[in-house]
């Protein structure tokens, strides 16, 4: 098995291990510096997928924020507040900007926070996320697979909408985020931030972050390991959670038309950084870290799901003798097991059928016997009757015979008697 393969390649592998890896300086322009361009060009042809999950109460502004972020009016009917459960509504759109094609999926949580009993509210969300992982895993495990054409529906980012109460997180928020933090990248945002004053907002943000930390909720950290973006990302990390305002309406401010919300007391401008953090959110989510979000989803959250799922299914990387297991060996074993089960079930069914047949046969036989008995009985009765009748007939016949005999006797007697009488007369 694996051992023989390994040993037969020991020489090759050891040669490879002894290979010298050297840092070589090039004597001229070779041209592989075009590789990143080649890679990007291929990605452009393939197109990109990005999937956003919006979790928040009904009416908190999820749809409006999506419209504002992507500058597109996504079709959205207002959701009712009377759903008897939470359900997830994914919608996919094809967007294009310059030469980039984006397949954007926005998943809305309809009915979140509306029920009286919210204990199970997080479940449909977790299930949806897991299902997308499961679908990808299934594709990855297929024999003939096409991962390169696969429409990736795994959730890359969960925007968690916090109600602008100004006090603290709701327990529903904490529970939900805690259930989600090991499965998806979470960015918490304060919705409808124009209802909070600046000083309250500052306190609110600090309260939220400390509650998240003390409850061990892992939110997405903008990556700081690439010097190109360390600065901007680390400064943005300090502004979490982002306080956003969404609007697709244009209001004239000065001589420009800007997206804003108009109140009698003033105009809240969406893209004004002193009014709200919308620009920060767009910057982080789309312009700086979109690729990292996709990568984290695949390399961390998906890998965790896959590992747990495979372990749950009984696969291991090494068997008790710590020889690496071939996944295929385990596949084969599982398949045999399954076929065995199938056979057993078949057997069971067959047995059941046979038994039923026997039963019915028995019943039929019983009925037959009864009928037979009845027939015999009737026959006997009939015989009895016949015999009686026969007897009567015989009796009758006998009587008749007796009578006839007497009659004949009497007649004979009367014949001889009249002669005597006549003699007497002639005298």
């Amino acid at each position: 098995g694996f051992k023989t393969w390994k040993s037969s390649f020991a020489c090759l592998i050891s040669v490879k291990k002894n290979e010298e890896k050297r840092n070589l300086s090039l004597g001229g322009h070779v041209g592989f510096d075009s590789l990143p361009d080649q890679l990007v060009s291929k990605s452009v042809t393939q197109g990109f997928c990005f999937n956003i999950l919006c979790v928040g109460e009904t009416g908190i502004g999820k749809s409006t924020l999506m419209n504002t972020l992507f500058n597109t009016m996504f079709e959205n009917e207002e959701a009712s507040h009377y759903q008897n459960g939470v359900y997830l509504r994914p919608r996919t759109y094809d967007l294009q900007e310059s030469n980039v094609h984006l397949k954007l999926t926005i998943v809305d949580t309809v009915g979140f926070g509306d029920q009286i009993n919210k204990e199970e509210s997080y479940k449909p969300i977790v299930d949806y996320i897991d299902t997308q992982f499961e679908n990808y895993l299934q594709e990855e495990l297929k024999i003939k697979r096409s991962l390169f054409n696969y429409h990736d529906t795994r959730i890359h980012i969960c925007l968690y909408f916090i109600s602008p109460t100004g006090h603290s997180l709701k327990s529903l928020d904490l529970v939900t985020m805690k259930k989600l933090d090991s499965k998806v990248n979470i960015i918490p945002i304060i919705a409808k931030a124009d209802t909070i004053s600046k000083s309250e907002l500052h306190k609110f943000k600090i309260k939220i972050m400390s509650e998240l930390v003390s409850n061990g909720v892992q939110i997405y950290q903008f990556p700081t390991d690439d010097e190109a973006v360390t600065e901007i990302n680390s400064s943005m990390n300090a502004h979490l959670p982002f306080a956003v305002v969404g609007s697709v309406e244009e209001v004239k401010v000065g001589n420009k038309a800007v997206r804003a919300r108009q109140y009698p007391w003033g105009v809240v401008q969406v893209e004004n950084e002193s009014h709200c953090d919308f620009v920060k959110l767009r910057e982080m989510l789309i312009r700086v870290n979109m690729e990292d979000l996709r990568e984290q989803t695949h390399a961390r959250h998906y890998e965790l799901y896959r590992r747990c799922k495979l372990e749950e299914m009984g696969f291991k990387d090494t068997d008790p003798d710590s020889q690496p297991f071939s996944l295929q060996e385990t596949y084969e074993a599982k398949r045999k097991e399954f076929l065995g089960d199938l056979q057993r079930k078949e057997e069971e069914m067959r047995q059941l059928f046979v038994n039923k047949v026997k039963e019915t046969e028995g019943e039929l036989k019983e009925k037959e016997r009864e009928l037979h008995e009845k027939f015999e009985q009737l026959k006997r009765m009939h015989q009895e009757e016949k015999r009686k009748v026969e007897e009567k007939r015989r009796e009758l016949e006998e009587e008749m015979n007796a009578f006839n005999r007497r009659k004949v006797a009497a007649e004979t007697l009367s014949l001889s008697q009249p002669l005597k009488k006549d003699k007497d007369k002639k005298k």
Partner: protein, 355 residues
């Protein structure tokens, strides 16, 4: 979605036969993110993000050279990568002998150009075609290639797997055809017929400076006929052309295959310029001059325009085919024992033909 921004996407190298001068690429300076630009969302910023990520991760490229000794394989590798990448350059003198069997030796280098880092692995196959009896000479090479696929597959099916699976799969195999000027020899056909099914093969006419241009054209034509007659699909394979644009570019390449190359790591002064070349008594063969030989076309194909595509075909087609074969063979085993047959060629040969 309204799009009013005027900024360009990254420059994309689509023209293959542009000027052969250095197409030095600097990443296009990204346009300032003007917040006042109404309607600009910034989705195309993902391209820059991808590029950044790729630069950080670096690239891997594994290239194999196959051909009899003396055909200039090492020199060509050195010329391609403008440095002493071949094993030969590092060898001490006692190793310079023809081995009794085919050996597979690989050597890796970390090279860098304009911030782009690459781990280049050159895999040499000394002994190929050098024996008296060269039967089945392709087998050890096939074994090696399949072993790389196997290694990757094993990593991939682990439960705990690495963030980035090290890619040792052979992306490209350069096959050196001796410049006989006639046609392909049986060993050439045998090798390419078997290996073109599992790896990208780029055939080249070695030491092409021994052929005149007419002889070269005639030879190339004969070779193409031979390849077609034996149903050998060399890179770029017709069936993997993605779209019409691709096909046009690739057809031009297919019309030139095999490239007639000359390698050299010596520079000479020609017309006031220092050029790579081979000095003979009747002139200097300029390696990078397309009027002299087709080295520049080969370099552009392998490195400047199609490197990513070569890797993609390896991972999404050749590797996947190996994986399918491998997973299917496990299911058809009568016993549960999986003797890993990844390298025992005879059984696979049957299977690969069935595909």
């Amino acid at each position: 979605m309204k799009k009013t921004t005027s900024h360009q996407g990254p420059e994309v190298i689509t023209s293959f036969y542009g000027n052969m001068a250095d197409v030095g690429k600097t990443p296009v300076a990204r346009n300032e993110k003007t917040n006042s630009e109404f309607g600009y969302v910034g989705i195309d910023a993902i391209l820059e993000q991808m590029r950044r990520k790729a630069m950080k991760q670096g690239f891997e490229f594994n290239i194999m050279v196959v051909g009899q000794s003396g055909l200039g394989k090492s020199t060509l590798m050195n010329t391609l990568f403008k440095s002493k990448v071949s094993r030969r350059s590092l060898m001490t003198t006692e190793e310079d002998r023809i081995p009794k069997t085919i050996e597979i030796k690989s050597i890796s280098h970390d090279i860098e150009e304009k911030g782009v880092r690459m781990k280049l692995t050159v895999i040499d196959t000394p002994g190929f075609g050098d024996q008296i009896n060269n039967e089945n000479c392709w087998q050890p090479i096939m074994k090696f290639i399949n072993a790389q696929y196997e290694q990757y597959l094993q990593e991939e099916i682990n439960i705990e797997r690495k963030k980035r699976i090290p890619d040792s799969r052979v992306h490209c195999c350069i096959y050196f055809i001796p410049p006989t000027g006639h046609c392909l020899r049986p060993i050439d056909i045998e090798f390419m017929r078997h290996l073109s099914k599992v790896v990208n093969i780029v055939p080249v006419i070695a030491k092409a400076d021994t052929l005149t241009l007419e002889e070269r054209d005639f030879f190339k034509q004969k070779i193409r006929v031979d390849l077609r007659a034996n149903e050998i699909d060399v890179y770029p394979q017709k069936e993997f052309d993605e779209d019409a644009e691709d096909r046009i570019v690739n057809e031009k390449i297919r019309e030139m295959i095999p490239f007639a190359v000359v390698g050299s790591d010596q520079e000479y002064q020609v017309n006031g310029k220092r050029l790579l070349g081979r000095k003979t008594r009747w002139g200097i063969v300029e390696v990078e001059n397309t009027a002299h030989c087709e080295f520049a076309y080969l370099r552009d194909l392998l490195i400047r325009t199609h490197m990513q595509n070569i890797k993609d075909i390896t991972s999404s087609i050749h590797y996947e085919m190996y994986r399918v074969r491998r997973l299917n063979e496990n299911n058809t085993q009568p016993n549960g024992q999986t003797a890993i047959h990844a390298n025992s060629v005879p059984e696979h040969e049957v299977l690969s033909h069935e595909m």
